[in-house]
């Protein structure tokens, strides 16, 4: 990858990486992730896909690892007697104040806090505009069909939350009461 390619890749994906990380970590940590992700990109530049449309899944895979490492680093700081391996099966770290970051309105923050951690993780991946269904599924380590099913359920969950907020019963797409 040439310097010019890197500039194009960075311009295209810096915002996506930051937003991705900011849904799991503090904004400062998210910026750390941006820096470390693109450091890795430069270190592995020879392995960068040639086709620009393949950059996003490659870079977001690196970003996800950086988010995990950053979360482990913070956790280790507060649990000095444990080892990285102890956290191998941990889910992504979650910044407890992330709702303040991902939404401007009280309603948006309430929606985010109402989501289960697994739903928040899915939302984080699904929000990356440049990731296709197949890319997102790969990033989450599940099949394309499972990913699509979860996407559909999550959308319905958002609709249900909206209905709950408005105090109205939700109807299914066929007009039936859910």
């Amino acid at each position: 990858m040439s310097d010019e390619d890197f500039r194009a890749l960075y311009a295209r994906l810096q915002q996506a990486v930051f937003s991705f990380a900011a849904r799991r970590l503090s904004p400062e940590q998210a910026m750390d992730v941006v820096n470390s992700t693109f450091e890795v990109v430069l270190r592995k530049r020879d392995a960068c896909p040639e086709r620009p449309e393949e950059w996003a899944p490659w870079v977001m895979g690196i970003a996800r690892n950086q988010v995990l490492q950053e979360g482990q680093r913070v956790t280790r700081k507060h649990h000095d007697n444990r080892f990285i391996e102890d956290y191998a099966d941990r889910e992504d770290p979650v910044n407890p104040d992330v709702a303040e970051v991902v939404a401007d309105t009280e309603y948006g923050r309430w929606v985010w806090r109402s989501l289960e951690p697994s739903e928040q993780r899915l939302m984080t991946v699904a929000f990356v505009q440049m990731l296709s269904t197949a890319d997102g599924a790969r990033l989450m380590g599940i099949s394309t069909s499972a990913y699509t099913t979860r996407v559909l359920r999550l959308r319905r969950r958002l609709e249900a939350l909206e209905a709950e907020h408005l105090g109205t019963p939700i109807l299914s797409e066929r007009g039936e009461r859910a």
Binding site: Y10, M31, E39, V151
Partner: protein, 361 residues
């Protein structure tokens, strides 16, 4: 009841629309949190080896270093406008551990952005301004600093080496300055362990020279106005950092606060004015708590200098007194010519003592 077949990409788009409708943002704006993306060129510069221009500049600076560090006589070159103490190219990378800060571990020191430092700088300015200056015990300004400077030859075969240097300086009212250079003990594994007051008396002396009277304006800081607003203006004029259009003004302030501490017993109100000036820009980043090389509690305030893209510089300030404790220069881009792998401490200075005494001995 069977589900209607869905198009995966359409379903994904519908979810995104539903989320936006619910008030969730697709993009989180770093500017809202006082953060900014580094430029692609900065990332490339940190990653790649130095450019020809960088190498040439470094070669030039090493000549300055040779003139400054290799002889005790050169120590007395610490004169406003003649020598910028940040310039020496610092200690060998592999032998000086990088300090870990609250918001920047040693491993991430080259890239960790830290936090907006403006509020902290304002607070430090207030703290420093509240300090009561101790009574002067004489007319001689006595300062002690501990420093590590790199000795390296561009393109040479030898490895960079560490030169531990403790500097005792006495500046008399006639502008004469006596400088005693001593070889300090090695640092411990954590990169700390500098001599404490009294501990340097028995260190071996490498040189002892006195610069003639009239070379330094010993009363320069005494003549600064006491009014805080006027003091800020006067400091900007004294340091030459006055113009807002000056290229890399943040680095100018960084260089000159170090320069003043290398020469004078700096009044707390001058530190307060510097922090106040620095609080006017978002260029400085807060790295948070740190134990400095002498084991003191400090706050790291860092800068990626526009004029020195291979470096990150850090000031360490006492949160208790608002006084400057020291500074570190960190190479964040490999210096191939000097065989230094980034990130690496290339120099640091810890200010250990500053007081007025009766004589230069």
């Amino acid at each position: 009841m069977n589900e209607t077949p869905v198009d995966p990409e359409q379903e994904l788009a519908r979810l995104r629309r539903a989320a936006e409708k619910a008030g969730l943002h697709a993009d989180v704006d770093p500017a809202r949190h006082g953060l900014a993306f580094p430029s692609a060129d900065d990332l490339l510069a940190r990653h790649d080896g130095p450019s020809e221009v960088d190498v040439a500049r470094r070669r030039r600076r090493r000549r300055v270093l040779a003139a400054v560090v290799s002889s005790v006589a050169a120590v007395s070159v610490f004169v406003l406008g003649v020598f910028q103490p940040w310039q020496p190219d610092g200690a060998a990378a592999s032998t000086v551990p990088i300090l870990s800060y609250e918001y920047a571990s040693a491993k991430q020191i080259a890239t960790a952005p830290g936090k907006d430092a403006r509020e902290t700088l304002r607070s430090l300015s207030e703290t420093a301004a509240e300090q009561v200056e101790p009574a002067r015990g004489g007319s001689v300004q006595y300062t002690v600093s501990d420093n590590f400077f790199l000795s390296a030859t561009v393109g040479g075969d030898e490895e960079p080496e560490v030169i531990p240097t403790l500097l005792q300086r006495w500046l008399t009212s006639d502008g004469a300055q006596r400088s005693v250079e001593k070889v300090d003990d090695p640092l411990d594994d954590s990169g700390r362990g500098l001599s404490r007051p009294g501990g340097w008396d028995s260190l071996p002396v490498r040189g002892d020279v006195t610069q003639p009277a009239g070379e330094i304006d010993a009363a320069a800081l005494d003549r600064l106005p006491t009014d805080r607003s006027k003091l800020r203006t006067a400091l900007l004029e004294l340091t030459g950092c006055a113009s807002r259009d000056r290229p890399d003004r943040p680095m100018c302030l960084y260089v000159h606060i170090l320069e003043l501490h290398n020469i004078y017993v700096v009044p707390a109100r001058v530190d307060a004015a510097f922090w106040s000036l620095m609080a006017e820009t978002s260029a400085y980043r807060l790295l948070g708590d740190v134990k400095d090389r002498a084991g003191r509690t400090g706050l790291g305030i860092s800068l990626f200098p526009e004029s020195e893209p291979s470096y990150r510089v850090v000031l360490i300030v006492s949160p208790e007194t608002g006084r400057l404790l020291g500074a570190e220069d960190i190479l964040i881009k490999d210096d191939v010519a000097a065989k230094i792998t980034a990130p690496a401490i290339t120099s640091f200075t810890a200010f250990l003592t500053a007081r007025w005494v009766r004589s230069a001995s």
